[in-house]
């Protein structure tokens, strides 16, 4: 049996802490570079300098009942809720008008709708649009507007009334889309925000089209 003498080495505590801090700093630097590169490469990446919320970055808190009812699909008249009244006041300040489901349905049945004098704009993302939208509505995701401008701007310019909607309730993408359209030159007098959105529309058993625009796949077609 052979005895061998070696010197062991151990790091002292401050050195270990310093090492961890330096390692954390390295993780932050490399991780940040990775994150920005991933956002740049991703087809869904955000444009850092774009203002995605032209209607304002602040978002109001939910309010007590009956506003809390707007979280679920049972709401039948969004405009009658506190949220609806707050939204109506906010839109009025921006020169826009809030409409209820009855008015939206009237415009949908108006002969001018067939002549594209009344157009509906769906301000949700592509997936939700495909799952079901108001028949004939144009897809217009306000967070990817450049993709839709070519199709949407000419019809909005030519139309007498433009009805913008999103999911309804707490969703404010319709407001964002309406402000965006207003800011690029669509007259605000003809922009109408349907606050109840697709949730109120479907709750009232009004027709819904799935797939692309004018796909012909309708639910509740008789209404």
């Amino acid at each position: 049996m052979e005895a061998k003498s070696i010197a062991t080495t151990t790091p002292d505590r401050p050195a270990v802490i310093k090492g961890i801090l330096r390692e954390a700093a390295l993780v932050v630097v490399i991780g940040s570079a990775f994150a920005l590169a991933a956002n740049e490469i991703s087809p869904r990446g955000l444009a850092l300098t774009r203002n995605y919320f032209p209607a304002g970055t602040s978002r109001p808190l939910p309010r007590p009942s009956p506003v809390s009812a707007s979280h679920n699909a049972s709401v039948t008249n969004f405009m009658a809720t506190d949220s609806g009244q707050i939204l109506a006041a906010e839109l009025k300040e921006k020169g826009l008008q809030l409409i209820d489901c009855n008015r939206a349905a009237q415009l949908f049945q108006d002969p001018r709708f067939q002549q594209k004098q009344v157009v509906f704009i769906d301000a949700r993302d592509e997936q939700r649009y495909q799952e079901g939208h108001i028949p004939g509505a144009y897809e217009f995701d306000p967070y990817r507007p450049e993709k839709y401008f070519d199709a949407v701007l000419p019809v909005c310019r030519a139309a007498e009334q433009v009805v913008v909607y999103c999911n309804g309730g707490d969703c404010d993408d319709s407001e964002t889309a309406a402000v965006l359209l207003r800011d690029i030159g669509i007259a605000n007098q003809k922009l109408l925000v349907f606050g109840g959105g697709i949730v109120e529309w479907t709750t009232n058993n009004l027709p819904v089209e799935t797939g692309g625009r004018n796909s012909g796949n309708l639910r509740n077609p008789g209404k």
Binding site: G19, L36, L46, T49, S68
Partner: protein, 177 residues
């Protein structure tokens, strides 16, 4: 001949630490990817915290944070720079948890409901959750991150430390072979 008995306490600690690292890594990989693949949804959720009022910093946080979390998750799963990553995550988790708590308090006050009945999508990558559950989850994640700083569980790590601390020499000891 020197026969060594296995140190079961140490083995258990190492096993627990490796599991904690994998759980933490998997959680951050999942939540990071779920936000990174839907950055607009995350941006809208981030807006509710009213942290910043101009577009650039808000967009930068929404664009980078999910991928940064994904990166940290990958590092932990692979066992690279474990303690530096754990410290970074802990320093992120603490302020996030405070923000979520404050938001929940504001919602509770606005809706006049019990605190644990507050349910909202905090932008944490797990959808709409009850606040008490979310706070408990975050508390556990903070604990796991803090535990990883101890240096246990170096097994199954590609490179546990990227930066080796300076060593100082201690007294020689005899090793019998």
């Amino acid at each position: 001949m020197n026969t060594r008995q296995p140190n079961w306490n140490r083995i258990a600690l190492n096993l627990f630490t490796v599991l904690a690292r994998w759980i933490l890594g998997a959680v951050f990989l999942y939540t990071g990817l779920s936000k990174g693949l839907h950055p607009v949804d995350f941006l809208k959720l981030l807006r509710q915290y009213d942290l910043v009022h101009s577009s650039l910093p808000l967009n930068a946080i929404a664009a980078a944070l999910p991928w940064f979390e994904t990166f940290c998750g990958l590092l932990l799963l692979a066992g690279i720079a474990v303690r530096g990553t754990a410290l970074t995550l802990m320093l992120m988790l603490v302020p996030f948890t405070v923000l979520v708590f404050h938001r929940a308090l504001a919602i509770q006050s606005a809706l006049a409901i019990p605190f644990c009945m507050v349910k909202f999508d905090c932008g944490c990558g797990t959808g709409t959750v009850y606040i008490c559950r979310k706070l408990l989850e975050n508390f556990l994640l903070i604990l796991f991150s803090a535990w990883l700083l101890t240096g246990y569980g170096r097994q199954l790590s590609l490179r546990f430390s990227l930066i080796k601390p300076h060593l100082h020499q201690t007294r020689p000891e005899a090793i019998h072979e």
